[in-house]
Symmetry: C2
Subunit: 111 residues, 2 copies
DNA sequence: TGGCTACATCAATGGTGGCTGACATCATGC
DNA sequence: GCATGATGTCAGCCACCATTGATGTAGCCA
């Protein structure tokens, strides 16, 4: 049995965090959490240009955060909750390990 | 009673996510989760320069992710788990809302 | 059916912010 | 006083973001 400090941590993906670090992309994710929307709606909600949104949506798509669903001329975007859950789980694990480290006062001795 | 879609979401802070988006900073956070370390240890572990680490540690400190604890000539850095927990909670909430949206197929109609 | 409008994406450019590294400064312990 | 750890500041570089222009595609209507 490994202690929580010895256990293998699965740190959050830096790339995924980076994808979500942009304010506009985070805004898009928040909007898509409430409603499945197409680009036109996102233009109305955010005030950003279509091409700008398209670029950010491509980044989100390539990162696996969103998936598309064609609907006539329009394209609906919806979130993939499992990706967000995995990220949340990684941070929770990190926080748990840190809490144990602090409670047991685990320090590496001064050199 | 508000439905989960109408409820106020507390989106993750873009600034905090941005702080954690840098690979080196994420590495620092992962290391500090296991052990409380000082800058010298972080230099050994990461191979980065002291000044570079100091800059990143300042960013983490100003974001409230880490706190310092002087120990003679050295300075120990430890994580603040509540910040990571809050972030994880925000993503969990987002994922939950998104899951409800998908299961109930909540879409805004095409214009 | 043919043309047209609107939605969506891709490719390319310019500008801005962030990361890194070198130097200087301050604090601490021997 | 000297050596070492830690931080602050500045300049250079690079990646990312927003905009522009062009292309492709799906529906609408004469």
């Amino acid at each position: 049995m490994l202690t929580s400090a010895e256990a293998e941590l699965t740190p959050p993906s830096a790339d995924l965090v980076r994808v979500l670090a942009d304010p506009l992309r985070l805004r898009i994710v928040s909007l898509l959490a409430r409603e499945t929307l197409c680009t036109t709606h996102l233009v109305e909600e955010t005030g950003a240009r279509q091409t700008n949104l398209s670029n950010h949506l491509r980044v989100l798509r390539e990162a696996g955060v969103v998936e598309t669903e064609p609907c006539g001329r329009f394209t609906y975007y919806k979130l993939r909750p499992e990706v967000l859950d995995a990220l949340a789980g990684a941070f929770t694990e990190l926080a748990g390990t840190a809490r144990t480290t602090i409670e047991t006062d685990r320090k590496r001795p001064c050199p």
